[in-house]
């Protein structure tokens, strides 16, 4: 199966790979995994006091589509409010990367990673 050019671009030059301190109260961490393929994805967002995502980092172990989906998401969420980021749909990710149907779950994983990170942020805020 051939990867689209956009997937290859993100796969070969992934944006924003890295880690942040997960104990930092302004850092939200979303960890998700896909048992079917064993992919593991970590998305971290640095969120300002007024709820704007200032920076995003990811680390993904998985196929090219999973890496591309998470790389793309880090580009998309930067500068957005957490509410706006929470509205990013997997279909938009899949469309942007031209993912074939068998790889749609990679985009779902990336959407779930954003949601998990936002959940983590909210639970940190309520403490």
């Amino acid at each position: 199966m051939a990867y689209s050019e956009k997937v290859l671009d993100h796969y070969e030059n992934p944006r924003n790979v890295g880690s942040m301190d997960k104990n930092d109260p302004s850092v939200a961490t979303g960890m998700v995994g896909a048992p079917a393929c064993g992919d593991v994805m970590k998305l971290q967002l640095k969120i300002s006091d007024d709820g704007i995502i200032e920076d995003a980092k990811f680390k993904t172990y998985g196929c090219g589509s999973a890496i591309a989906s998470s790389s793309l998401v880090t580009e998309w969420v930067k500068g957005k409010s957490i509410e706006e980021a929470g509205e990013i749909k997997n279909t938009a990710i899949a469309e942007e990367l031209a993912l074939p149907p068998v790889k749609i779950h990679c985009s779902i994983l990336a959407e779930d990673a954003i949601k998990a990170a936002i959940e983590d942020y909210k639970s940190k805020q309520s403490k």
């Binding site: 998700v32 048992p35 593991v40």
Partner: protein
């Protein structure tokens, strides 16, 4: 007839693989195409279908994770969709660490020792988790079945890691 009945063995996570294999061969002999060389087209077709069914059953029961899944599905335990993402943070953090450990093997001073270390860590964690699941499957109540299902999903991450380890081992041999 379920797969266990087909092989005339008890429904259990513990399967005697030798017995399974010998029962498999006996069953396959009975439907071997040579036996149906002079049979009607319909009988030949049925024999081929039976042979495929026996093969599916054998492959399912031979593999521990597939066997566990089969038992749970037979009990009517609702398996979460495999595509659904898994969100047990501490488990996934550990999976990340294990993958990082595997990634570092290649750059280690003593590659063989580092690879052995990873294999031993993975095998210890896999066995531990798989023993817990085995107990949960044998308890067979709603709570234990659902917990077994959760652990089965976790074990699949280890299964994937083991594939990666094998791949790394092969690539190291080629170097």
């Amino acid at each position: 007839m379920n797969y266990f009945q087909l092989f005339n063995i008890e429904v259990s996570f513990d399967v005697d693989l030798q017995q399974l294999s010998s029962n498999y061969q006996t069953l396959q002999k009975a439907v071997h195409p040579d036996k149906f060389a002079h049979a009607s087209e319909q009988e030949q077709r049925i024999a081929v279908q039976k042979s495929a069914h026996i093969n599916d059953a054998y492959q399912t029961l031979k593999n521990p994770l597939q066997r566990a899944q089969y038992i749970l599905v037979q009990r009517g335990v609702e398996m979460p969709n495999e595509q659904h993402s898994f969100q047990d943070t501490s488990f996934l953090m550990r999976q990340m660490e294990l993958r990082e450990m595997l990634e570092d093997v290649r750059h280690s001073g003593d590659v063989d020792a580092a690879l052995l270390e990873v294999q031993s860590v993975l095998s210890t964690e896999y066995i531990e988790l798989s023993q817990i699941m085995r107990t949960q499957i044998s308890e067979n109540n709603a709570a234990s079945n659902s917990a077994a299902c959760d652990n089965l999903r976790k074990l699949k991450f280890y299964q994937k890691l083991n594939v990666e380890v094998d791949r790394l081992e092969d690539s190291l041999l080629d170097d």
